[in-house]
């Protein structure tokens, strides 16, 4: 049977680490490898950081929303903000593209998410906010060694 959780929190940068660990702790129920756990935590960090600094321009009164579903050997994560939104999603997803070069952003957030997940979808509406859908299958090699 599937297991789901929803989490929301203030758009404060201190909460990035909290969000990583929370999603990681939830995923731990599928007993992933350390590599898979690190990948998921990295992906969550990137998406949450984007919501805080791009979505809300660091306005801490904003809220970041995460839902996660565990199903068989798969985790589905949705990370959402109600912030600025993205005008041109294709451009935003390009490697190295950043709208905030002054913050020394790498422009690699979306590229990292895409690489560490099996599926990624970005839906965004200027002034309404951004939603990132992520899906990752875990390796099943573990099952063999039971």
């Amino acid at each position: 049977m599937e297991n789901k959780m929803d989490l929301s929190f203030s758009a404060k940068s201190e909460n990035e680490s909290f969000a990583r660990v929370t999603v990681g702790a939830f995923l731990a129920q599928l007993d992933p490898t350390m590599e898979e756990l690190t990948e998921i935590k990295t992906v969550v960090s990137e998406a949450v950081t984007n919501a805080i600094i791009h979505g809300y321009d660091n306005d801490e009164s904003g809220m970041v929303y995460i839902s996660a579903v565990l199903r068989d050997n798969e985790i589905e994560i949705v990370i959402r903000d109600e912030g600025n939104g993205i005008l041109d999603i294709d451009e935003a997803r390009e490697p190295l593209f950043t709208s905030k070069p002054e913050l020394e952003r790498s422009g690699m957030g979306f590229t990292i998410m895409e690489n560490f997940c099996h599926e990624m979808k970005v839906v965004s509406e200027p002034l309404l906010g951004t939603t990132v859908y992520l899906k990752k299958q875990l390796t099943k090699s573990k099952a063999i060694c039971r």
């Binding site: 680490s17 660990v21 007993d31 350390m34 590599e35 090699s141 573990k142 060694c145």
Partner: protein, 77 residues
Amino acid sequence: IGEIQRFLRDDGTVKVSRSIKELSNKIRKAKDDLTKEYRRTPTVNEIAIHLGVTPEEVVFAGDANRSLTSIHETVYE
């Protein structure tokens, strides 16, 4: 079976359960050491700094002894 498990785990597929168990043991030791040094219970940050991990990791791994029994049961038994 134990051999195969060990092989698979060491081959880049280290299970979270094992790695967390290790951190959990380090946390327990750090807690004892720092309690002696400070003569009071250490805070979460003090342990995190001592071990070079984030405070959130200390919380997560510190729970391992409880939660891993159940993970262990479902996965390996």
